[in-house]
Symmetry: C2
Subunit: 205 residues, 2 copies
């Protein structure tokens, strides 16, 4: 509805630019925010360009098409979120339980942000027109699953792949419910509580 306005370059005269790639980065960041808030179809190219004070021609020189811009946005999102979770897990040292706890802690912080709208990759994958979204979402989930499977393997469970999938289910379920039901970090806490028994090597240790 309202103007975008958050990401904005200094207003500059016609033929100028503060930096060669500065405009590209601003476009990417503005698109990241507004695509996440209002969906891929909810934002037009014209509005997006005017919000960063750029022209459509510049956008098309940088990204080729709206689909190219979307792909760049989603790829950056996926890389950043995966890096977040891996960095969080690293703070758990060698203890799988501590690693998983740290992962769900950073998830909880994410859920608590007022701008939280669920997983951008999965949201984009539901927009049918824009084919790459689905494969990018799959790749995104595979990154999560690889991390969770590593944690499960480190815990010594009999079937790390299966436990990795189950942990990913809890993570995704929490992501969905924190979005629609506005649960905040409580969703991450509940998910962690349900996840911990899965790491226990059945019965005696």
């Amino acid at each position: 509805m309202g103007p975008i306005g958050t990401i904005c370059l200094m207003p500059v005269a016609k033929g100028t630019s503060l930096d060669p790639d500065r405009t590209r980065a601003a476009m990417l960041e503005a698109a990241t925010v507004v695509f996440y808030e209002r969906g891929l179809d909810g934002v037009g190219i014209a509005e997006l360009c005017s919000s960063v004070g750029a022209s459509k021609e510049t956008l098309y020189r940088h990204f080729g098409s709206k689909d190219g811009l979307i792909a760049a946005v989603l790829q950056a999102r996926s890389d950043r979120n995966n890096a977040w979770l891996r960095r969080a897990a690293a703070t758990g040292g060698d203890d799988p339980v501590a690693q998983l706890t740290a992962v769900f802690a950073v998830l909880g912080e994410w859920f608590d942000q007022p701008q939280y709208r669920g997983c951008a990759l999965l949201n984009a994958a539901t927009q049918r027109h824009f084919e790459p979204a689905h494969s990018m979402a799959v790749q995104h989930l595979d990154g999560y699953q690889a991390l969770l499977t590593e944690i499960a393997a480190a815990a010594g469970v009999p079937d790390p792949d299966r436990v990795g999938r189950q942990l990913l289910m809890l993570l995704q379920g929490a992501t969905v419910m924190a979005d629609h039901l506005a649960l905040g970090r409580a969703a991450a806490d509940d998910a962690l509580a349900a996840a911990l028994p899965l790491l226990a090597t059945s019965g005696t240790d």
Copy 2:
């Protein structure tokens, strides 16, 4: 892309109709299928009408607007899915474990269908323009959560609400992963295996 073609009335002459509400039902069913396959924005009114051999005027007399049609489609979906799960749970008799097993069994059948594309309500809620979708999705999730909380309470867990939320997380996570990762009923099996420990009244029985 291609024509819809699945749902189709007998081709009839101009001023005729096989049944007063027959056209309305056909429109609803065709819209249910195609909105689910291609998203709310992926289908135009004109294409939808021609696929059932009706005119736009008829559609607007029955549903008022595209939003009215969408609301009717989503409400029917939600009611049907909730009824499915409740009927499945009823087959478990008084045993909470059997109830939960039956719920995830019917979910697994759903995941195995080739047309499966995740939860229509949640998918619709990601399309930002069409405001009612979000509240309908919340209502839909509440229906699921109520059932799962009842099962948790019947199992005698200390905090049925919390376990109900955790069960719903597993259900939603399985719904998402079965969609994007094409896991089929295996997703439901993994989710059930992760859910059963949550019903155990800690330690001794």
